[in-house]
Symmetry: C3
Subunit: 471 residues, 3 copies
Amino acid sequence: MSHWNLDPDRCFSPLLSQSSLARTIYEEIKDLPLVCPHGHVPPSLLANPDATLGSPAELFVIPDHYIFRMLYSQGIKLESLGVPSQDGTQVETDGRKIWQLFADNFYLFRATPTGLWIKDELINVFGISEKLTEESAQRIYDELEEKLAQPEFSPRALFKRFNIEVLTTTDAAHDTLSDHASMHEEGFTSVRPTFRPDAVVNLDAPNWRQNIDKLSEVSGIEVKDYKSFIVALEQRRTFFKELGATATDHAALTAETKPLSDAEAETIFAKALSGKSETSDASRFTAHMLSQMARMSTEDGLVMQLHVGSRRNHNAQIFNTFGLDKGADIPVATEWTRSLEPLLNSYGNDERFKLILFTLDETTYSRELAPLAGHYPALRLGPPWWFFDSVKGMERYFDAVVETAGIYNLAGFNDDTRAFASIPARHDVWRRVCSNWLAGETLKGFIDDEEDAAEMARELAYGLAKKAYNL
Amino acid sequence: MSHWNLDPDRCFSPLLSQSSLARTIYEEIKDLPLVCPHGHVPPSLLANPDATLGSPAELFVIPDHYIFRMLYSQGIKLESLGVPSQDGTQVETDGRKIWQLFADNFYLFRATPTGLWIKDELINVFGISEKLTEESAQRIYDELEEKLAQPEFSPRALFKRFNIEVLTTTDAAHDTLSDHASMHEEGFTSVRPTFRPDAVVNLDAPNWRQNIDKLSEVSGIEVKDYKSFIVALEQRRTFFKELGATATDHAALTAETKPLSDAEAETIFAKALSGKSETSDASRFTAHMLSQMARMSTEDGLVMQLHVGSRRNHNAQIFNTFGLDKGADIPVATEWTRSLEPLLNSYGNDERFKLILFTLDETTYSRELAPLAGHYPALRLGPPWWFFDSVKGMERYFDAVVETAGIYNLAGFNDDTRAFASIPARHDVWRRVCSNWLAGETLKGFIDDEEDAAEMARELAYGLAKKAYNL
Amino acid sequence: MSHWNLDPDRCFSPLLSQSSLARTIYEEIKDLPLVCPHGHVPPSLLANPDATLGSPAELFVIPDHYIFRMLYSQGIKLESLGVPSQDGTQVETDGRKIWQLFADNFYLFRATPTGLWIKDELINVFGISEKLTEESAQRIYDELEEKLAQPEFSPRALFKRFNIEVLTTTDAAHDTLSDHASMHEEGFTSVRPTFRPDAVVNLDAPNWRQNIDKLSEVSGIEVKDYKSFIVALEQRRTFFKELGATATDHAALTAETKPLSDAEAETIFAKALSGKSETSDASRFTAHMLSQMARMSTEDGLVMQLHVGSRRNHNAQIFNTFGLDKGADIPVATEWTRSLEPLLNSYGNDERFKLILFTLDETTYSRELAPLAGHYPALRLGPPWWFFDSVKGMERYFDAVVETAGIYNLAGFNDDTRAFASIPARHDVWRRVCSNWLAGETLKGFIDDEEDAAEMARELAYGLAKKAYNL
């Protein structure tokens, strides 16, 4: 039985002088509370004190598109991984078989951040001590299953053990926020909602019409035209704020923010309501609504987040059988400079406004985003997102943005995950990469001394996220 | 006389702990047989047992656009380098003069992969022991000339000495494959053809009409319309397979793969046959034919390669005087995500299909190619191509793709060369860079141990290429 | 009082073997004279022997958009930094208050090149020995103020102390060059003008009509149509040459170079003169004029520089209040391959022509610029520009271009600055990064030995700039 170790100096440079300074810096920040201002943990997991994390397969494989997309890329069917179908297709239900298949192929994750997170989670959260292989799979399943049944592995117990200071979820504009309301009532205010209106703002969102109806229902405002739509959204923002929200979140294929005239907005919205949208309506309306959301943010103070550049559901066959979020969202090149110009010219100099940007196009870090964030007072840069929430992704991000924007125009870290138990592993990678990067900068003479470096590390690990999100 | 040395630890990190582990890994793979699944060695060189490599100028300078483009960029005329003209322009014929000019300017290749390959080839293949300079040029010419006349420097002898397990050439769809047929007959099956139909598929290819006639001739199928064109191509694919081909290859300016209806394809092809193509016909037809080629691959099992993004013959003056492949092909930005969507939606989930992608736009590695390859089972990523077949090109490639796609969605290495004698040098660079990169990943804690790293190195150096190309 | 130190090995690798070789190389080049072939120092500063550098706030803060954009991005008003307004808005005039605000926020520049330059300038040019902080601000102000009043801190004295061999300024085509004429007369020929006709060539330049009138005035040629416009420009180029110019400079949003017919050029120019330009006229005319400028360069031998990709004055509110060059110019993605094709096909093979390219889109280094420069004899690549004139910007540049273009197709270094006293700090960063990069290449076996590396360093630090600019 081979012992499985996490390198205590993982993510640090192999150069001793650098890893040694990195460790010194890391020691100062590794135990800071976790600030999680953007993520996708289901609020029910924390609202219900009796919630559990489920079986090992339910925890690690079935819901995690980082995992099953890689297995799928090597010819393993999603059916055999137990991913629920939407069209009645039979899928595997035996958690042990699913886990075995995962373990058989865990070698695919060598040298990937997903591999590192899983290993960290198995060792540090669950105390697994042998390497996950074809051979060890069932023993590890036994051990995980046993632990997952214990109260100290309930989401609430882990929330405390993980030292999470605040965690925000992502919630549709038409959500009732019942879980949040119950936590709020209970006084468990470390969990907060985030207002994400994509499903009603993007006219081509799946089930848009039904979502509008739900919006009418939850807001008590009948959405019958553009004006009532805007009023309903404003009502929901207020409601989200009352339950602790400090931010909104918006996803778009492009960063276009050109506003429409009120009349144009009215017309397009009316066409959509009557099911007669034309091809370009949705993209023009989304651009307009981003501008409207910025306007609302200047009024209600909610920080605006913008995630741009994912071509969703690229694989029609997978989408038809399994639905959204199945590892088939593929980035496209993104233009920020011209696209954000309308919005920034209206609100970019406004002291009441804060906009945090996320990209899937790394070429825009140094070319567009850092110059924009190094000028506009309203802008902050979100951390490397999705495929780039990785060791090298972070290193490229720091290398590309800090020379132009400094570190004080950054928004710290987001774990952006639905995998609750992986949160500490993700923050730990960020903290390690920050420490190592700052150590390098110090040794190369770009930071005056260790004291400055440690102060910067505390900001990156903790302070900047709180400031950026008004937490 | 200065002794000329190859650093035994070249391409490794200057950090001792990393270079030492890199060396350990490299020792395990450096003598593995060479798998060369994509290249441009003329088959005649190996079909004819009496073939020779020619004079030093004919071997190193005259046919190699990597060499003469750099000399040309510094004001040295192609005429003076003996590059054959197509319009009757007189060019230098004295090999010694050409060689001297090359040696005088060999310093231009400092810190380039071309410089490293040449040095490796001179030292390791030809046993040259003094540095190539203005002063040593003629002595080295003497020594090379003497060696090149010896039987142990014939292409076949070198093929054996290089330990090449399999080498594929690139052959037009309308080629008779007579050299391949003769090797096949002889039982020399380590050399295989690859089906490259660009010259008949791209309607704007030089001499397209004549190529179609040749296609009719070699296939025995009179290409008189789109239908017979498709039948002729299918016939040729079968013929290539019979002579050992396992793959096809396709070059395109963009990655567009949108299919036409049969009627549209008929119409465009008919216009082309009658010399009346319109401007956009060629690009639309190429996109369509890529889709057709994918369809054929699902049926006959030939692996499909796609090389995208080279704007060919950028310099009209050079093209008019010297023709194709004269160092004036310049990359353009490439879009993969939307462009491949039609093809991947038809064939990307098909177990019978394999598609290997090559790009000249490094920004697409992490943004588009790795996410695509990390999802679609049919996709594999080819190694860094052309300008990026270099130490830093490889390092950027690994850094950009592995975190998202792992190493098992890669297709190993291609030398992609017409310079037969440079093959070992090129594979050696790849093997060294792999070893060094894996050493770094291991030391940073992203690979569990040396054993895993060595296994990954064997895949990258040997196994993945064989699997990707069904060899 | 904390002592403030510059790391003697700043910009070098923390790896001892590399920094040690880097230092050896650096020692050979650090005292070479400074060649400054492109910059924005006001010629009056050097033409007038009694000129001074002004107060500390006037020297370091008020005119430097690198400084105040970062402060602005964190919510500090340009008014409070004394940046002069154009619309009568009151701004701070107390230099000590401005300086204090700068010092309070100097931590924002940690790990930025601007921070490094300022620190170097304060320590090495002005002998400041304590760290710039909120607390030390006024003491340092005193010391700077005292020094700036001394004759050895006059621009001319510093010019000598900095060991500047040649410095070129950037001057409008309609400039009288009176300062240059007076220096020329005096025999102070180390300062030379550069011909920059953007303000008359770009039809949408602010005050274009007035600039044309000035052009008529200074050239003595009444610009009344396209033909006289061309003649006037040719006259000015001759005049600039007589005062020592060896180069022209051109800024454009895109790299388009498609020429117009004479008739089209006539028509567009006539429309502009009568104030009736249409939307696309300016961009088409700029493209045409770039081609014309190349033609003139083949005739008069002035080296052509092209700076592409800055979307100027992105922030309308800042532009309206404070005008041009206020830190709100943001890069956009740039296409070179197709855009330069017309110009390069006309002049790219011409022995009389030299074109130096500058980009704000780093993705084009390896994809387009290095392949172009590694082929066309007329092309040279300018150093990393603006946001990329930084340690990591330079490292990425070398890593991206040298493997394809070698170092001999580069144009050495430009400081490109209006901050005269920062010139040595900027050249020093380049020289250090070159030394460290060459040390790495040598240790990895890509350069034969230290001697070759030192020769390359001398070229990069001194020789290539002189050759590229015919200095």
